[in-house]
Symmetry: D3
Subunit: 245 residues, 6 copies
């Protein structure tokens, strides 16, 4: 299942029978006191494995650097440009197609990457149209989060190191969470944050956008099981009625 | 108020007293039977004028070509790449800064441009940090649309040639609307539309995402007056409590 | 005739019967006291309409930003790079070809754009060779201007806000001209202006290269009627003997 | 020591006391029957940890995609362009510098990356000159390999899935080696391989450039202990006399 | 005088006393039967030497590849893109500035290069403003050619392998001319050649734009002595009244 | 044999019978007191002629600007970027292919160019695969130099203005060598020179990497005759057994 553990001689036939490649994409980014810098990489990688358990496929090595513009000034964040991501993803996609893959799934754990991944997918759509390309960022999570969230979100799109993301980590990688350091910090995001470049240090010192203390593994499980099922349904083209973006 | 009607000798002092430049950004794009291809340009331009009436500023000539990937295969659509938009916006922003402007407002009428404008604004943030840059796409409209919409939206982010956008046109440029051609066409957007490149011809033949027949000038007025007030508040840094993205 | 006023459903058939798209290209640039910053946009747009009256075609929305290197330091000028123009023009051209157009006419009102437009046309020639592309900058005007000019030109190629261009405006858009502010200012252009980067503030403070007071609508009409006829002849492939570049 | 396991609040002070970041860089590439596709990633990552044990520093997440032009047509290889690598490395380097690192070590496990890493280091040298940047590819290994190699190398620069690299794996990650599948395959590399683009399928079907059956963990240990000591000496600026490139 | 014949130790002081570098720029391009493919290189190089005899300066090695779009389909032509030329010229200019030169003269023998050289000069103007940069293409030649030409030109800007250029070669490098193969071939350049991409095979089979048989060394001498004096005057900032572009 | 001396009418048939183009590529670079700045250009050009005497082919004009990063701060050096070289080489290669050449030989006299030439060759391999492309940098010289060198080299890859390169010049262009100025200067190249950006002024003030006083024309002849024979064998596909890179 882990692509890089395969050898060159067996892999040719294996790709023929499971021509789906899953690329975890994350970032190194500040996630408060209680979560590690690699949170988005950890989540993307474990989610990819869970998806591969349900859809016959290979998990590629994680691309662990992402676009972290908003949090680039927080300690430990490493940011790369959208264009650098696009170029590398397009190269990988073309190479996968040459290797016989028919489906390329980017399983993204960092919202800041999503536009670059979408742009890369469109480039691949035009250059290797036979390759089906996906860029997943927790499909359907807004609905499920709304069903179980105890605190209102700071923002209708952003979620970060909060009740939700911490729950993901408690479910998928609990030993990487230090719940005793979790804080409840619901910042007031300024009115113009969606309309002008706004580094997050302008409105938060913790980089936590919510009540991390309310996180539980059960909440993480509730959302992510459904998210994974949505990915499965999309890839296998089934049960569309169950989905709500 | 219209920048290109000014002459070179008066403008220098005028910029000093009103150093805010508003650039309408739109697109040429299919908008069903009942709306013209230039709908986004028309809306952006009139909105810019309305904003300039409330904030002392200049309206630049409209940049009328946008990123129309999703609808590029519909008759009459013209699409340019994100990168082409970014490059031109960055050039314009630098030039405005050289001319003495302190604030550059992109008033965007086409959702497909929004990522490019955001990227351009970030480039300007890093290269001419003294220039304050905004990229407005109907700030706050989701809330107001929710308050008066009679039909549910097809999608939580996209709206197009529908009850809402047609109402905008009925309010701002009624002679450009042929309501007798308006249709009620609420497509089922496939589950994977947010996760894989999805040309809109895959799910709609009309390019209308809703019930255009329910549009009224009053609805347009209700939303856009509030949207403009949000822009004004952001630019003048007032009444933040009133805003809901 | 104005492309953006058409709707998506009628336009498909209309393009088939009139597959010629005219793109006015101008600039925002200092033009002395008596002419507005948008002079080149105004001229390009009206010329495009006049051409469309004679050749069955569509007028696209004006691309109003041009390469204004020489005058970029004059109040009100906005400059974009050659490369930004080339990229956007190439995108537009490819899109027009996809839409069924067979001829793409750039009607340019600003000399500084001409090299970029020529380069863009060559890119299109190689990438979509079935698309016939033109970049018109007042074809034949040197001959006609020579026939009626009362004052010698400052430069054999450049003309700007002078007897000639002011005459164009008096003919095409007289309400945009303030003749009482027109000046006679024939600068001595330094010997090396064609051989080294030379901002125009080096040799003129008015940005007028000639005797604007000598301008008349009749002169504008004399030249531009012939210029338009040259465009028509080129597009319809007729009366070649009448032309002198 | 693993950077992504740190959290944002402790890391700021930690970087101050250990301002050295080590980036393992590898590739996904065919390595014969007996070694996995991720061999270069595995080697780079373990070497980075060993180096970090001797030099106070942080190990960044591995960049697992490399330039695999020569072997791109072998099953399982994934190749990205030099330019994609350069762009991403430069972004990472600038970000590390912003975070307070003074030294950026690229620990490269794949020869094909070396030119891109060198170019990236030169860009960083010019743009963030205060950042000291290194690109290590087994410094000194040629000498040590020569001392213990039982079979002559196929090529004076290339080594691949052979006695040497297999020995590295037997030393660092023995469970990833299937020695029963190791082969002795010393190809004749054509005379022009250094002078014209030469995909390796032209001269080998196994992608093994030597006698993998002669590999032992002891050989790997002999070379790599010395290689690591060379890295340490370079970083700490000690014992230069011991080095032979 | 020839820069590449100098050695590194003497050159530092020599640059201080003669900080002017002349770069001949030419092309490999079809020039009819009677002139060699390297005509533009030969002319640029000899002109550079003649200029250096009058202005204390160094002649750099010739950049012998130019933009030959119009004649690229004629046997023997080699074309490179404008962007390739710009990039290389900008690199060279920056390097010359680092070396202590204060003036960079591009002595161009090929009209097709002129736009690229102008663009490169503008980039240098903005990035190393202390470097004075010139791009000479026979300054003033139109006036002098008009004074002695026996045949009218085919085009008001283009001249090629004709009475004029052949005269240049007869004056500067007569052994490279085969006058017995010279032809009189004055093509009718189509009306739209300045307005649409027009490969020259559309209107000439000889690649000669005029009456090469009318060429004489005296004519070449007449024009080029004046052209060189113009260059000298521009560089030394003297006798401006004598110049007519 | 010299391509630029041919005319456009004869060349078409001549290319058919000798479809091999040799491009000398060099640099302007400090080479100590005793060798000129253009040493690499001189060597590349004479070597190209010698090769053309043995393989029916054409010698193109020399590309005389190279990547001189390491010595860019020495007096007289001119450096251009890898990317500038790649772009120009790719353009030239495509143009040669259009002209009917089947083989494109880059005969490189400057080690710093080699990576750029290799990259350009790979681009051409993918874009015009029918064109066979070579990038020669003294193939086999290490072996022959080892056989006759009297002094050990400073570095296993770099050689510069030393016993070897001076011998090349004494053999190929003795009048360009001032042996009375030759020095014996064998620097200690620091341990990290292959692992971090290292301008050569860090370890040498002469730019000579060896004992130039030991150079003789005989040594140059010994090596270069064999080097040329290697090139011939590669191009004619003969005597492979004789080669040792």
């Amino acid at each position: 299942m882990m692509f890089q553990n395969e050898n060159s001689y067996d892999i040719k036939e294996k790709i023929k029978s499971a021509p789906v490649a899953i690329l975890p994409v994350g970032a190194v980014e500040a996630h408060g006191h209680h979560l590690p810098l690699g949170t988005d990489n950890i989540l993307a990688e474990i989610m990819a494995i869970k998806l591969a358990e349900k859809v016959d496929s290979f998990v590629l090595p994680t691309l662990p650097y992402g676009q972290v513009w908003s949090l680039r000034n927080f300690p430990g964040s490493i940011t790369v440009s959208n264009q650098s991501i696009i170029n590398m993803i397009v190269d990988i996609g073309k190479s996968l197609y040459q290797q016989g893959f028919s489906t390329f799934v980017m399983l993204n754990g960092h919202l800041g990457n999503q536009n670059a991944l979408k742009d890369a997918a469109r480039v691949l759509y035009d250059t290797v149209p036979e390759l089906k390309t996906f860029y997943f960022f927790y499909p359907g999570m807004n609905k499920y989060a709304g069903e179980i969230r105890e605190n209102t979100a700071s923002h209708d799109v952003y979620f970060h190191a909060c009740e939700i993301e911490t729950s993901y980590m408690l479910y998928l990688s609990p030993t990487d969470v230090e719940m005793d350091k979790a804080v409840n910090d619901i910042p007031v995001i300024p009115m113009d944050a969606d309309s002008t470049p706004t580094p997050w240090e302008n409105f938060t010192s913790s980089a936590v956008l919510g009540d991390a203390t309310a996180a539980t593994a059960e909440k993480g499980k509730y959302i992510l099981e459904r998210v994974i099922m949505n990915m499965v349904n999309i890839l296998l083209n089934t049960k569309e009625d169950d989905y709500d973006s």
